[in-house]
């Protein structure tokens, strides 16, 4: 009986893989590879979830489903490196230090926000803890496989990133409750204290592990502390950091802080004043992950400057455009067009801000963010060039599977009007 059931289960599983990792070819499109120029009238083949061929003269293997996209534009799936979609909650706003919070625990794979975001050609997002706490939770990088089990969404084998936040939000939230931090000095203290405790915690555990390995008997393991466990992972570089910053002084401060504790700071989110210290950011090799034109909605955002992208670009800062939103990830390509309104930056470099640079900021540059053989089959098909603001996304494909089809999903994803 059990044997029968197992055979049946195996059959079901085969069936599932069969439909999920569909082999697919798109032909006739203008392919924007991002890393190797533009291919006119090109074909791209995706097999077993990976790109297996692309070019003008590509033989489509037998058995591969062919979609004719003649006249359309194919680009790598867009990536939002600072999203808040598909989460049951955003902020554990009860304490300024909450690294024990993992956003993957609150993922909602059936969230309608996923479909809406797919409608903007987005295939991968890092969905994040909010900015209430100096040390928030651990973000989670997911592919937008709508309605699939959580574990299919979470991108495997990649470092996740701890969210930190400086500036007005933590100091307002805790300051108004009469708690530390109520100032930027307080936030600095809170962060420093937490990581010093984590160093001590790590030292205790390292000693224990060493003694144990050395064969010592009657050892009592140190007490487990989930907050410290996460920070220990950050110290061990098993996690990196994405820090919410606005003012230039905060940007410089967090770069110095991460040097002091030898932490991997990857992205500065919002980073509204990034252009003012573009040289410092370039030297630290940290990504700018922000908006193009948001400004003035609060004091620390007052100097937001859309022309600042050029300063950062010239200084060698890697720029990522992201949404910081449960809703606006779908507009990333329209925001990329705005970069050109304010800055003389080559078009392909602007497209990198929503594809390859974003992939690199997630340490996934070898898997997504450009169209190359061997990379994941994550593709967006647009009606016209993605920097044409009057275009729209027609298909969003993840690992060879269509998750958004304008013809089927447009009314749900974009709102109907009858």
């Amino acid at each position: 009986m059990l044997k029968k059931l197992l055979v049946l289960l195996a059959g079901v599983m085969v069936l599932c893989t069969g439909t999920q990792a569909q082999d697919l070819a798109l032909k006739g499109a203008t392919i924007l590879t991002i890393t190797n120029g533009t291919i006119e009238n090109g074909t791209i083949v995706i097999q077993r979830g990976k790109i297996t061929a692309l070019g003008q003269d590509v033989e489509i293997p037998a058995g591969v489903k062919v979609i004719d996209v003649t006249g359309r534009f194919v680009l790598p799936g867009i990536i939002d490196s600072h999203s808040h979609i598909a989460l049951s909650d955003t902020n554990e706003a009860t304490d300024p230090v909450t690294p024990q919070i993992w956003m993957r625990e609150g993922l909602e794979p059936d969230s309608p926000q996923i479909l809406t975001t797919l409608g903007g050609g987005v295939t991968t997002v890092k969905t994040m803890h909010g900015s209430a706490n100096v040390i928030g939770g651990v973000n989670v990088t997911i592919k937008l496989k709508h309605n699939r089990p959580v574990e299919e969404l979470i991108v495997p084998d990649v470092r996740q990133q701890l969210k930190m936040a400086l500036g007005e939000n933590p100091k307002r939230l805790y300051g108004t409750k009469g708690r530390t931090p109520s100032t930027r000095m307080g936030s600095a203290y809170v962060a420093r204290k937490a990581f010093i405790e984590a160093q001590e915690y790590k030292a205790r555990w390292d000693k224990y592990e060493k003694d144990k390995a050395g064969g010592k008997k009657d050892l009592t393991p140190p007490k487990k502390d989930l907050k410290m466990e996460t920070l220990k992972m950050v110290l061990e570089k098993k996690l990196s950091i994405d820090c919410h910053t606005y003012r230039a002084d905060e940007i410089v401060w967090i770069i110095e802080f991460c040097k002091e504790f030898d932490l991997d700071l990857i992205q500065l989110s919002h980073c509204v004043d990034g252009y003012k210290v573009a040289d410092v950011m370039a030297e630290a090799g940290v990504f700018h992950g922000g908006w193009i034109d948001w400004w003035g909605y609060k004091e620390e955002a007052y100097d937001g400057c859309p022309y600042g992208f050029r300063i950062m670009y010239d200084a060698g800062v890697k720029i990522v455009i992201n949404s910081d939103s449960p809703d606006e990830g779908r507009y990333l390509w329209r925001n990329a067009a705005k970069v050109l309104k304010y800055n003389n930056i080559p078009e392909n470099e602007v497209l990198k801000m929503i594809t390859l640079n974003a992939a690199e900021s997630l340490e996934l540059g070898d898997r997504i963010g450009s169209l190359e053989v061997g990379k994941d089959g994550d593709v967006a098909v647009f009606e016209k060039h993605p920097l044409d603001s009057t275009t729209k996304c027609l298909l969003t494909i993840i690992e060879g599977e269509i998750f958004f089809d304008y013809a089927k999903h447009s009314i749900t994803a974009h709102g109907g009007s009858r």
């Binding site: 040289d279 909605y297 022309y307 050029r310 603001s389």
Partner: protein, 411 residues
């Protein structure tokens, strides 16, 4: 300077200056694609501006002596965009500088004219984005929020900028209170109807009393004597609304609030306008409204926080074009349609002879978000393409470059 005419005593002294100023105001835009909005598109066209107004549109217009000529070859000449729902001029610096949203659920008498700061950084940021005329509202957090004004975004004093006072009353049908009345949408509707009914009574009472005061014997109906009428500024603000003279803009968020707005407009015979906030605005909506012949304008609210990104007015236009609206209709919904809604279409919203010369030269269509604004002319005068943000760029591009150079040479 035109203001000076009000001061009779100064008129003579100022007159030569006025003439000098208007001579400098003669501008000829040459050889552009002129998108008139209300008429045909004129390729290789010229547009002559004299004394702050559009004097002539056509081909091969001769430049009058002393006219400044602007070459628009390869470029597109549009009327300045008109933004219907903004807080430009009253948002100011975050914190104490913000003058929107007075306390109270019913503040229809608030008038943003009393708080306009012509040095608000939003003004420059908005106009270099091609928006030359805005309606500024007093807020949107109350049920009855207040009056609005329409301004051209150039001038040193509020009175220089104003295009129209009390252009509309702003009502928010979802402005529930927390823990006090009205805390529900039916409560909001009831409060609104109460205020309208009180206003009707107020008008009746005022008329009666005025009639009474006109009686030489001092006889008032029902009373023996007439007393000075006790004014109520709150209800007075609603009198022209109920008379159908001032339109009401209903802020709506969903189907319920839209339906309530329509019912109230019908019941009180109001001049009604519906603002569809995020929950109502859908990608396909522009095309659907156009198909049903509904007059509509795009509005930048919700497309960027704090209403400081009025320059993003073309974003909903671009989205609508992507999803079925014609570009022509989208441009109208940023120019002549908002002008009609605000009752200023006799002055702005299209390029026509005799209209106020609010003219913007673009590198491409405004619905393309990458298109750049090359020239902005407001009331016939080019404004500098500078803002807080260009000044920040100038300062920090120099500083960052200097630091990089210094570091290089130091090594």
């Amino acid at each position: 300077m035109r203001r000076s005419i009000l001061f009779g005593g100064l008129l003579v002294g100022i007159l030569p200056l006025v003439i000098a100023a208007s001579a400098a105001d003669t501008l000829l835009i040459k050889n552009g694609t002129i998108v008139t909005v209300t008429g045909p598109i004129l390729k290789g066209g010229d547009l002559l501006i004299e004394n702050g107004t559009i004097a002539k549109i056509g081909k091969s217009i001769q430049a009058p002596a002393g006219a400044k000529v602007i070459d628009a070859s390869g470029k597109f000449v549009y009327p300045g965009l008109v933004a219907v729902m903004t807080a430009v001029g009253v948002t100011g610096y975050p914190g104490a500088g913000n003058d929107t949203d007075e306390v109270g659920v019913s503040t229809p008498h608030m008038d943003p004219y009393d708080a306009i700061n012509p040095e608000d950084d939003c003004i420059e940021v908005t106009r270099v984005g091609g928006v030359t005329t805005v309606q500024t509202i007093s807020g949107s957090a109350s049920v009855l929020n207040g009056k609005s004004i329409v301004m051209h975004l150039a001038g040193d004093l509020a009175e220089d900028m104003v295009c129209k006072r009390y252009a509309a009353q702003i009502i928010n049908l979802a402005a529930r209170e927390q823990g006090k009345y009205p805390s529900t949408i039916p409560g909001v509707v009831a409060l609104l109807k109460d205020k309208f009914n009180q206003t009707k009574d107020y008008v009746t009472k005022k008329k009666k009393q005025e009639n009474g005061a006109g009686n030489t014997k001092g006889q008032d109906v029902g009373r023996g004597t007439s007393q000075p009428f006790k004014r109520n500024l709150e209800l007075e603000a609603l009198v022209p609304v109920l008379a159908g003279k001032v339109p009401v803009i209903f802020i709506t968020y969903d189907e319920v609030t839209v339906r309530k707005a329509i019912e109230i407009i019908k019941e009180y015979k109001l001049q009604g306008v519906i603002q569809a906030r995020d929950g109502v605005f859908k990608y396909h909506m522009g095309a659907a409204l156009a198909a049903h012949g509904v007059m509509f304008a795009f509005d930048p609210g919700g497309w960027g926080p704090g209403n400081r990104n009025v320059r993003n007015l073309p974003v909903p236009a671009a989205i609508s074009v992507a999803h079925g609206l014609s570009e022509e209709a989208a441009i109208k919904a940023m120019t002549i349609n908002p002008a009609k809604i605000l009752g200023i279409d006799d002055r702005v919203g299209s390029l026509e002879e005799g209209k106020v010369a609010n003219v913007v030269i673009w590198s491409g269509s405004p619905v393309q978000l990458r298109s750049r604004v090359d020239t902005v002319i407001i009331k016939g005068e080019p404004v500098p393409l500078t803002s807080l943000q260009t000044r920040l760029y100038d300062k920090y591009s120099k500083l960052v470059k200097e630091r990089i150079e210094k570091k290089k040479s130091g090594k």
